[in-house]
């Protein structure tokens, strides 16, 4: 049976409903929430702070430390064991690498900026939601940044090319599936994260990347609005 229509009725190029808010955690230096469908990400930024242990310090620039964490009953599958796992460690690392190109931490030698990403509930696309939330939280923390980072998952299910796969699409059994998270700096159109799981032809991948640009710009607008709204509320 060929894949003809998405289960939730969206168009193939459409994302799930997106909601973003900045300044959701009072105690943090910067914080943000990013919801895309049933995937919710909260990011909190602490720092620049004093970095210990000392051997991790870089005398030329501050370092970025990301921590991605899914809550125990956040996914529809099995209970996620609390604490770090191979998967969370990998996602923390790619998140860090996706955010570093926009950050300028030269003003803060020997220090650290900590980013904690918590996911209370997830349904695919969690690393992308985490990156979107973290980039807004970093901006909210007043750090020097070249740009924001926006991310979305692309993919292929059977013979269709899709944007923002949900869990049922990611786990589609009757045909080949590819899941491709991408993160981009919207103003320079530079890609900071590109991973892939599954199989896809070169032509299809290029087509998907082309399609993703518009979607990522839409996500950028949501992020921008959320950041401006936080301070607008104060202004009025």
């Amino acid at each position: 049976m060929a894949y003809k229509q998405r289960i939730d009725g969206r168009g193939f190029d459409e994302t799930r409903p997106i909601e973003a808010k900045v300044g959701v955690i009072q105690r943090a230096d910067g914080s943000a929430m990013f919801k895309i469908g049933n995937t919710w990400a909260y990011a909190a930024v602490y720092g620049p702070r004093n970095l210990h242990p000392k051997f991790l310090q870089d005398p030329q620039r501050g370092i970025l430390r990301c921590n991605y964490n899914m809550m125990p009953f956040s996914s529809s599958g099995e209970r996620v064991r609390p604490g770090g796992s191979r998967r969370s460690k990998e996602i923390s690392l790619v998140t860090e690498k996706a955010l570093l190109p926009v950050l300028d931490l030269e003003e803060f030698p020997n220090s650290v900026v900590d980013v904690f990403i918590e996911l209370p509930q997830t349904e695919a696309g969690s690393r992308c939601a985490g990156i979107c939330a973290a980039s807004m939280a970093l901006a909210d923390a007043g750090l020097n940044m070249k740009d924001l980072v926006c991310a979305v998952s692309l993919g292929r299910v059977d013979d269709k090319l899709l944007i923002d796969l949900d869990y049922s699409e990611e786990s589609y059994k009757d045909g080949p599936v590819a899941d491709i998270p991408i993160a981009m700096m919207p103003n320079s159109s530079k890609v900071t994260l590109l991973q892939m799981d599954g199989e896809i032809s070169k032509e299809e991948l290029m087509e998907l990347l082309e399609k993703s640009r518009k979607v990522l710009m839409d996500i950028y607008e949501v992020q921008k609005r959320a950041l401006k709204e936080k301070y607008h509320e104060v202004e009025v």
Binding site: P48, A141, M145, P186, K224, Y231
Partner: protein
Amino acid sequence: MSKIIAKDKEIAVPGETLAKGMEVLPGIGTCRDGENIMANRLGLVMIEGRTIKLIPLSGRYIPKTGDTIICKVVDVSFNGWRLDTNSAYSAMLSMKDATSDFIARGANLTQYYDLGDYVVCKIVNVTSQKLIDVTMKGPGLRKLKGGRIIEVNPHKVPRIIGKQGSMVVMIKDATRCNIVVGQNGLIWIDGEPLNELLAIQTIRKIERESHLSGLTDKIKEFLEKNGGKLTG
């Protein structure tokens, strides 16, 4: 042909194009990328003639020479004290900058400033690696006894102080509290408990509404309305 895209007193997000053309100059918080001027951080756009700059709204304190700050003593060493500056870096207060008293060799330094004490001090030097030297010699620089410390956004401190200290003097008079505002976002308040509470509420109000014009009048009104409950 140069064109300023951003509006004055609008919020800009990192990466946003603020102006196009070479005739407009990038100020603090902005940078030039080819012909365009981009925002380098989140901030309030200020257009001053041909220059466009961003006023930061959030972020941790960045130590600067000449700032008067409130610090907590976190360590005592052979030749001085290490202070927590409410930023990523700690400051060093050396024995010779700490007091004009004679300190005998091998004296117990905790009798001057003990762990956990708060002091008002002035930054005399910040190196490229953010090593901070502070001094306690100067008017108003002293150890803080009693009272309480609150933390505010360091970027709102100028508003809390007001023009030539007008705002903080108003709060001091109305609440009969002693108040010291550190540029690192720590504020010391000492007075009767209820008065202290009013002073804190007032400062929080200023912090929340710091963007508004006519803030002084609003705060005056707030203090007058709540001043009836004061004691002492």
